[in-house]
Symmetry: C2
Subunit: 436 residues, 2 copies
Amino acid sequence: MEAVKVGLLGLGTVGGGTATVLLRNAAEIQARVGRAIKITHVAGLGIANQTIVDPAKVKLTEDAFEVVNNPEVQIVVELIGGYTLAKDLVLKAIENGKHVVTANKALIAVHGPEIMQAANAKGVSVSYEAAVAGGIPIIKAMREGLAANQIQWIAGIINGTGNFILTEMREKGRDFADVLKEAQALGYAEADPTFDVEGIDAAHKLTILSSLAFGINLQFDKTYTEGISKITTEDMKYAEELGYRIKHLGITRKTDKGIELRVHPTLIPAKRLIANVNGVMNAVLVYGDAVGPTLYYGAGAGAEPTASAVVADIIDTVRQIDVPADQKVPLLGFKAGAMRDTPVLSIEDTKTAYYLRMSAEDKPGVLAEVSEVFAEHNISLEAVLQKEPNEGEGAVTLVLLSQRVQERNMNDAIREVEALDAIQGEVVRIRMEHLG
Amino acid sequence: MEAVKVGLLGLGTVGGGTATVLLRNAAEIQARVGRAIKITHVAGLGIANQTIVDPAKVKLTEDAFEVVNNPEVQIVVELIGGYTLAKDLVLKAIENGKHVVTANKALIAVHGPEIMQAANAKGVSVSYEAAVAGGIPIIKAMREGLAANQIQWIAGIINGTGNFILTEMREKGRDFADVLKEAQALGYAEADPTFDVEGIDAAHKLTILSSLAFGINLQFDKTYTEGISKITTEDMKYAEELGYRIKHLGITRKTDKGIELRVHPTLIPAKRLIANVNGVMNAVLVYGDAVGPTLYYGAGAGAEPTASAVVADIIDTVRQIDVPADQKVPLLGFKAGAMRDTPVLSIEDTKTAYYLRMSAEDKPGVLAEVSEVFAEHNISLEAVLQKEPNEGEGAVTLVLLSQRVQERNMNDAIREVEALDAIQGEVVRIRMEHLG
């Protein structure tokens, strides 16, 4: 059988990894697929100087539209990244009847609805396994492996940079700013680290997971996003003392009122497997009504781990290249006509437990005063730590753990606590989940 | 579109779970699949008294062959277990042109070659996600999610009973026999626990994983199997001291000489995520050349977790019911014509590191004598613990960790060490893997 022809857009880290894996593992892949897969066209800047693909066998161009418009190309692999050019290229490829594979989480999270609609209308597939958690086959698990379940919630460590920073802070007692600099030097974090440390990258991925879990459309703009730049080693230490770790999680949950969709630092029990996922590794914990908790762990970034997912998508596409679109797995896991408009809740309407830390005057009755405020708001406390001041310091540190409560209610209580005479400065608040 | 008709063989724990999940999640599943899936026929002993399916809507029979011979049934779900009857039923279903879903690991591991050949000849699918690691979608990860990789090795906790026993022994310092009794009382272990604690059940599952990883045929009879009944809390304590935990692992690895295929207790670094998989939970760690390590975690048994995998297979089958067999994922992940005859190595030809414990006379020079034997066999030691005897006891305990060495070589060295005058009794040996 003739080889399937692939056009690659972008020959950077992931593009290079994809070309390398397809070449190195060509025999293995052919044994699995039953036919060869060949990169026949590659577009990239400065492409003439690349050394990964053989220019005698592959048509090289600086103009990516040449590839998506070439009638020979059957599958377009978009690894350029970004929103604008990538979107135009993907839509053009779809218009030209080509199947698309992309690793572009931002593109899918933000322009997914338009892209999926175009692909469904044209009957081509758009695959994006590499867009979430790198090499971990979590998209496949969500769309197929767990398809028997009503998904209850997902909690994921889906940004390796953030997890590396938190791991170093915890294991070595180093400050956020200090570790961030190292992460930048190691190439884990960009010069402008906002996307990673403020949770935007994780929010892109969570948007995709939430859609696959609950059959809702992709709604990146409704995702609540809070980064890790305010996490201190002090809070990590108290969390540890109480049996918890702080992880930067993307959490999505189905409730009676709607879907929670939120990225933020989170205390989780140290005994949970996901609390032991360290360094740059990713993990996604999925809770299904039938299967219970399942966890998927692996490298969330890097040339070859990401290429592993890109090539898996290419293999899926090739295995089914002659299968009509309506007999394939739906692009977002649910039939387009069966998608739901379940509302996404604002952060004030979500419910979670809380870790709260505050400085208080060292005098009798302060804890009683604080507890009373929470009691008035029907907020139960399940643990209290009171740290006496050092000689010559005037303030005690109070650490409280609350039970689950609506965020709006907690905001009101915190405002009242902060207004107490005995409380100094702001209350530090970190959300907490038991994941049980 | 008309509902797809499913015939269920067996309405025990997993059969009941499957019926329950299909009924409870019918709307969710239809939204994902685009058509309804209905159990129309059920076979089981004492079926008239069951309360799970509605006898007004489902045809009940005690004769499973009635179901596999019924022309209305499109998918046969075999949940009877065992080798003989199950094999006849599955082969008959295939002969009748029906797709098959089974949770029967023994059947696939032992009679898989015959069954797959029959299914390939007839152009029907045989799915067995539930046969390995219960609800964890590991078969799908191996056949599809990781298809870009040359798999290097797999290490799995694939028997929940064994993992429960080892976890209790470690956490509570209880003996094997004591915990086994509790596991039996809790229903985790059978009255005859051989299948679980001697590693036969794990060997069935490992046989399947190895075939999917390396494209070799199913060869249960070549799997080396060693159980956990000789593991003591003493060895667990020494392992812990050295930074390791003891887990009952199924390990399969590709080497230059052939495939290693072995189930046995194994020391692994306590820092590895899989070392922290506790209780009845399962986890499979897969190392691919492109993706590196990935891990899949979840419930390995139980009615609904297993049903989650069975129903996922049914959904896969229904989604592709009109797709020709040659455009589907191959039954064992590789095209039938591309399977390999890579030899499976005998245990003496495998290579691993070792934990060794022995009792020695409390006199100078014993450690030197023992070390010399290993040196003569070119076996490097990487750690030594010497435990002084208590007052009035005559023997010291020596604990050694070796580097990787061929098992045959280690056997020779151990025989020589046991022959030393200063060494009392047998050397206790537990294999060790770094999984790095």
